[in-house]
Symmetry: C3
Subunit: 354 residues, 3 copies
């Protein structure tokens, strides 16, 4: 559906520099947008594209507005968030007919809200509850286990497995291959073998949670694994049993949290980062890529932990030195002491003062 | 089903301090358990909760028993293993009716044991064999490929793919999203392109093997990929073609093994650890988190390989220095030599002896 | 189908040392091959097995031929590529009957080529196009989304999800659990919460692309994510939104590419390697295992970035020193200056020249 720049300005509190009647029908990049598209500038990296963009309008900050060529300016403090809202209006979810596809397998005592859609070949098991406007988008492989509850307006895209008794909040999106409620990795050593420890907890997921493709959230060993409201997990993220993740924390691809670690609110965890088990992490902690956290963190702060790659020769030389770093430090200490002794000795002789 | 403490003590050889007739109906944590639950103490980290636990009984070691308040003590050398066994009794698998769901697609020449259950919309292909009491739990997306054999009492939870001719042992659990028998990553370089090398081996999985959500075990290039008895793999674990993993080895989340590496028995591989290809790893090797192994290991032992993250400023300063570690060592060597020459020179002059 | 050594020699331009009429019916390893199998030597690591192999013939380079015992030699410059081609002939894909399995769910306006096969319980949505000889091998969980196009001779093995409007080229193989076209991880911060940014781009995949088990390729935020011809991705690979990967680049298991990074042609990316977002990587770049790339690379070259694991004691000592590497360098610098001042002082006194 087309939107006028005037309507956008009013709805989202932007200052408009341009014709309020101009219509936009879609979104584009600064470089690629056509004359009926709206775009945005949130990353100064792309600032140089402002003068030449063919977009109808650009959502951007006041500081950048004067760089614009012919495009109208929609000035806002948070261009990216404003863009997200405009794009949501311009690209509404496709309409659907409520109901249950004849090829889906739904248990008699499952409760399916009248406005929900259960796609082909989905399976909804005993006592499961599916909320209003829920869309089990593309049925195959979507499994809603016994006693599961799926909140209103939540989407299971495809091949999503939600196992027994897990609770999903409202307005969540579970991407393909997501597994919720798999057994935690609880194994008890016993005479050189491993006994499976029954995982009798479940998983509770808040509202507005997104979980990316092929991510997994294990059920708790005894109590539940808990994902707070507004948490966003990227692809291939692994959440161990009994983990608790605070509201509005985001974790990028391949991040992982080992069992029983508790992560605060509004944390930002970059790709390939990980936490060992049984830690407590404060609110507002930021981890850069590849950061491994092995101790609890009690204060907000930013952490690094990845070594950037380097040309092979240099990398190999440095990596080889790393294997002797401890002895290197001892050599340095010995040298410092030798020089110190020396100075004292020499000072005694006084020779070197002249 | 409820158990009396007396029965637990007798079955599992625990020394009971408390009323043998007390019944427990479930499990709980030390902090959360109610008066009809049993719990355990295996990690001294939680010792402080002993005096106040409301649990009916606690499985714990003799050394900890005197810390208990009102709870009965079930004293054992291995509280966690004892807990695992008690929890298995208190939480038996749900009963099921054997058979094949009408929506499942089963090849005419597949052999399905009479006590097995094939859930809705599962697919069992030609010549596949499904053993006694096998449960293809939640059918959708469970694929049992042509010529596959699934041992007695093995469970495929949901969306599990087992491709042609793979052999699964008895009492295994394959969690959702597991892929067994995908092609190994065999690509032959040829004039700047890559030729797919047919992967004609298969996968053999022993008894009592658990494989976690979204893990993958590739089929062998020519001979088979082999997973030994009692191996436990966590989520997102990747096993390359021709790998052999010895019995009772455990691998935590996101660990990976590149092609043709052979890992011994009873190894413990922590999260994010990895092995390059074509290695031989001894029995009883332990890897801590993030450990990358690039050479064969001939003796049992414990290895580390992860650098803990640090506050960003300090991390960045140290990481920058790492890029010059080699030249740093050269500077130190030059300094040592200078001081040595100096001493000799000075000794010659004798000045600094007085 | 059996092949004669003579036929192999002619087809693939090998020099034959042996009886051209000898037939081979399959492949084997140097150590395991029987008398009707062909094998190869591409890795000198296995050279010692040449004299004793029982194989009928060995594909190998001229330099290795004189090591052979009774086996015939098929001499070629690229034994591994020649092996790949021979193995493809000896192990052709199983024949199949074209058509749509009755249990599959195919939209009325989907176009399915006459020679294609859609397996049980697959789902093909509106306006999707399935090319000639496409095999949606094992149907369950295979989802071909609305408007998707799947090129001729491409295989979706099982539980493959291809979401709306993605384009797959010809002769591709998508292994189980692959997800194509999941939403990119686009989240706009807004007053301490995260707004989902609609991902309106798609995915374009070239010809001859293989994608391994449980890998994921996100759709673009605005424009498309693009995977070039002949790209080979191993298992658990993660490709972020707007990424572009050049033709014939290979990426091993668990590698990842963050959003908007552009990777050149013929790159070789080892396991566990990763790229941060918004980079440009030249053609012919090689990354060794665990290499994290944080800056653009403008020239071909080989990069390292993984520290090999070490015995725990030594690793811990070195890792502890790493946390003080910066101060260590400062200490060294101070020492150098002290010695320099000293020398000047001493030279002044002249004492140490004698």
């Amino acid at each position: 559906m087309p939107l006028s720049l005037g309507e956008i300005a009013v709805r989202f509190g932007c200052a408009l520099q341009g014709d309020p009647d101009t219509l936009v029908t879609g979104v584009g990049t600064l470089a690629g947008a056509g004359p009926d598209a709206i775009t945005f500038l949130a990353n100064s990296h792309y600032r140089s594209a402002l003068p030449t963009t063919r977009a109808a309008a650009v959502l951007l900050s006041e500081a950048d507005a004067d760089e614009l060529g012919t495009a109208a300016a929609l000035i806002t403090d948070n261009p990216y968030a404003a863009y997200a809202r405009v794009a949501q209006l311009l690209h509404p979810p496709a309409p659907w007919n409520p109901g249950v596809h004849p090829s889906a397998d739904v248990a008699q005592d499952a409760r399916i809200a009248g406005s929900a859609w259960i796609g082909p070949q989905a399976v909804v098991e005993a006592r499961a509850h599916i909320g209003e406007r829920v869309r089990v988008f593309v049925g195959p492989g979507c499994v809603v286990g016994a006693g599961v509850s799926v909140g209103d307006d939540t989407h299971l895209i495809a091949n999503v497995t939600v196992l027994n008794n897990a609770l999903l909040g409202r307005r969540c999106v579970m991407h393909p291959g997501v597994v919720i409620g798999s057994d935690g990795f609880g194994m008890a050593p016993d005479h050189g073998e491993w006994l499976r420890v029954p995982q009798v907890g479940s998983v509770r997921i808040g509202d507005d949670v997104d979980i990316g493709a092929n991510s997994a959230v294990d059920r708790g060993a005894i109590e539940d694994t808990v994902i707070g409201d507004g948490v966003k997990l990227d692809n291939h993220v692994q959440i161990g049993h009994n983990v608790r993740i605070g509201a509005h924390t985001v974790m990028a691809a391949r991040a992982g949290v080992a069992g029983s670690t508790v992560i605060g609110r509004r944390c930002m965890i970059a790709a390939d980062s990980g936490f060992v088990g049984h830690l407590n992490i404060a609110d507002d902690v930021v981890l850069l890529a590849r950061c491994m956290i092995t101790h609890s963190i009690s204060e907000p702060g930013t952490y690094g932990g990845g070594l950037p790659g380097d040309k092979l020769r240099r990398w190999q030389r440095n990596a080889a030195r790393f294997r002797n770093l401890d002895s290197l430090v001892r050599r340095l200490g010995a040298l410092e002491q030798a020089l110190e002794r020396w100075r004292r000795g020499s000072d005694g002789s006084g020779d070197n003062d002249g």
